[in-house]
Symmetry: C2
Subunit: 222 residues, 2 copies
Amino acid sequence: MTAPETTVVIPLYDRFTALDVVGPYQMLALTPGVRVVFAAEQAGPVRDDCRTLQMTAVGLDEAPRPDVVVVPGGPGTVHVLEGALPDWLRDVHATTRWTASVCSGSLILGAAGLIKGLRATTHYRHLDKLPLFGADPTPERVVVDEDARIVTAAGVSSGIDMALRLVELLTDTRTAQAVQLWTEYDPQPPFDAGSPARAPEDVVELAAEYEAAALEDAMRAR
Amino acid sequence: MTAPETTVVIPLYDRFTALDVVGPYQMLALTPGVRVVFAAEQAGPVRDDCRTLQMTAVGLDEAPRPDVVVVPGGPGTVHVLEGALPDWLRDVHATTRWTASVCSGSLILGAAGLIKGLRATTHYRHLDKLPLFGADPTPERVVVDEDARIVTAAGVSSGIDMALRLVELLTDTRTAQAVQLWTEYDPQPPFDAGSPARAPEDVVELAAEYEAAALEDAMRAR
């Protein structure tokens, strides 16, 4: 058991990617002593990039001061690189234990000026954008910078692996392993196509088409 | 692209486990030609087992007739083994292409009489309950019964692996691989503790304590 309570805030925004949020959420929320709060610029329902899943959030201004922040990615990233979210992140990062991102969430950390000069990762299709924020793109699944207290993860599902690392950092190895076991995280993907280095070339092209269409759709949305 | 559209309904209920829902949701919702609908006995917000995540659902009676159903698990399972959900499942299964479950969701399929005489899987802590519903417990990650059109998955995170199989069954291998790549599902758990066969003994005990406490909490809730 961990005492005192650790507060995790996961900021949501229109067109977030659901698994970027719920992968880390599940691992953290099941950890004894951890409470998770979902927050958004406006309190109320927030819709994901597939326009189907709707989650409830409190306002960023009502959210408790977090010990840990996990910023999800998604095509909606393009609309929040300026404004309230990067400002809030810059403010709370001064006192967080860990400020983390999944997928293109690292670009929002970048917009907040939090990954300047750091090695960082993101979805493989966005690695080339990290230098825009002064970061050194690192095609690893999870990158932990202990000095900067910044953790970045690769695309979508990598938030699960990252969150298990966070659980270990916040509690201990045994607790993190128990959360892994409880969620039976013993992955057995039916194909070996989860990395651009190993997926067949035509699958890399098809995934790029899907991703580009989702981004275009988000761009058109405002 | 798949035409005509495939409709997936994911039924929610109080104290569902979030990753049981969102793992499969993400893989299916990103698949071209697939739309996903969340439904619950009562339309409105539904809260997960950690009492933090709240998702919006339509009523089961308003939900479109599904081609695919994915029933999540969670401690709340104990409260829905009788009533509207098993009745609804029995009805829609007559015309689904696939009726699937994640984690203790298989017990709800069981309550609907849909796994009688079948090999089936569930969360490792619930395998011993499958014979109550006439099923043969099979400690595999994903079990597909093509004749019965029933797919069952092991605990929580196994829904991701299962859903990639479903995407392949609904479309083709290349599309399923592109969804895997898009979500960068190239898992790298930091520990090898995701299976009771390989986790250290004290971790198995700790996870059992966590799971029992969550179930007790759900039992007390009504």
